[in-house]
């Protein structure tokens, strides 16, 4: 099997969208599935986290976040100077790529599980930590030189947004409950996880197909950016993971976090904080290209890199 069966659901959705099928997943189901996935990922991470002393994660967490700031800080000048995109658009896209995609992370986890590769359970903590710093950087860059940064609404949007509330909430519930306490919920949150992920990917395929039209206007530079940037960020993730002595599985997950582009938290936050940025371009790149690219090419590539580079750096 070259890739995960769940990815075939994404491709099915993509095909259905491209042939203009009347298949439609109701918005309410999208909401329900995303709530389920965010909670389940948080819970799983929390249960694993209960096995580690929390303080030991402080330094690696700080390193992971600091290195990750390189992604938006590199992406912005590339997009603005080389790609000649307006400042607001370049900053918004940089924020999308600096932040993370929870679903890409879930697919990478299931890629590893299918191959029997284990990973550090606390990677979910990094997922939570990496969600928002890039959004702040994106807004700061977009607003440089003007005093009208809307920090209040942005902070509220990010920290009260459902991604953070459910991921962090699930993490805490899982951590408090521990492996035994969470057992009664296993069937719902862990056994059904892959099926729910498959349905969500079917929906994302449909949505991604709808965004492809936007990309025709974006031009070849953005197409190249949306595939090369994740590969470079993925490499940065593998190198950072090696520096932190993570396992091969941990390296794949960190690479996936660095390489993925947010399309749930970032669009909502950017729309409020940088309204002049065109959401069609940033979501088109993040969801139309980078998301499928990571699913089909990126994750196997980061796995290959993690094996090759283990112990080298």
């Amino acid at each position: 099997m070259p890739f995960e069966p769940v990815i075939l659901f994404f491709l099915l959705g993509l095909c259905a969208g491209l042939i203009r099928s009347d298949l439609k997943i109701p918005g309410v189901l999208y909401e329900s599935l995303s709530i389920f996935l965010l909670l389940a990922i948080g819970l799983k991470g929390g249960v694993e986290l209960a096995r580690y002393p929390l303080m030991e994660l402080a330094l690696p967490g700080l390193i992971v976040v600091l290195v990750a700031t390189l992604i938006p800080l590199t992406a912005f000048p590339l997009l603005h100077r080389v790609g000649r995109l307006p400042r607001a658009d370049a900053a918004s896209i940089a924020a999308h790529y600096g932040s993370v995609s929870v679903v890409t992370f879930a697919v990478a986890s299931s890629f590893l599980a299918a191959r029997g590769v284990s990973a550090e359970g606390y990677m979910v903590v990094f997922l939570v930590l990496l969600e928002f710093p890039a959004l702040m950087i994106g807004v700061a860059i977009a607003r440089r030189g003007s005093a009208s940064a809307k920090w209040g609404p942005l902070l509220h949007e990010v920290f009260s947004g459902k991604s953070i509330v459910l991921l962090l909430g699930g993490l805490i519930i899982g951590w408090v409950a521990g492996a035994d306490g969470i057992k009664p919920l296993d069937r719902l949150f862990f056994d059904l996880f892959k099926g729910m992920l498959a349905l969500f990917l079917l929906e994302m395929g449909l949505v991604a197909a709808g965004r492809l039209a936007d990309l025709r206007r974006a031009g070849p530079f953005l197409l190249a950016f949306a595939t090369v940037m994740p590969l470079c960020a993925g490499l940065l993730g593998v190198v950072t993971a090696n520096f932190l002595d993570l396992s091969v599985g941990g390296a794949v997950l960190l690479a996936t976090l660095y390489a993925s582009a947010s399309y749930i938290a970032a669009p909502a936050a950017m729309r409020i904080a940088v309204p002049e940025a065109n959401p069609a371009i940033s979501i088109g790149a993040a969801l139309g290209i980078t998301f499928p690219f990571n699913l089909l090419v990126g994750i196997p590539a980061y796995h290959w890199l993690a094996i090759r580079l283990q112990g080298v750096i």
Partner: protein
């Protein structure tokens, strides 16, 4: 006893769902006491808004108020949101009972 309807303005706004909180703050600022929000789909200058996921969802907000308040809100919306967001707003004359509510 005959019921005497009173004239008020119905302000209808169709816009991106992500603007909901910003608009509610706007209403509070202008002293609006009530509103109704419904989820909406449609097509316009910003393409098809099919509500398949939050980034393509619209809402339709209705506010009953005095003409002065409605005009103030419309002016403020035009200044703050028209340039960067998908938004349509329009006013219509309506007759209400219990005018003190609006």
């Amino acid at each position: 006893m005959t019921i005497q309807p009173t004239l008020r303005k119905l302000l209808t706004i169709v816009c991106e769902a992500e603007l909901e909180n910003s608009l509610l703050r706007e209403f509070a600022h202008h002293g609006v006491t009530g509103y109704t929000i419904t989820e909406a789909r449609g097509h316009g200058a910003h393409g098809t808004r099919d509500a398949a996921w939050p980034a393509s969802a619209n809402i339709r907000i209705e506010v009953l108020c005095e003409e002065r308040v409605a005009l103030e809100i419309v002016e403020s919306l035009q200044e703050k949101f028209y340039q960067n967001f998908g938004m349509v707003s329009f006013l219509s004359d309506v007759q209400v009972l219990r005018p003190e509510k609006f």
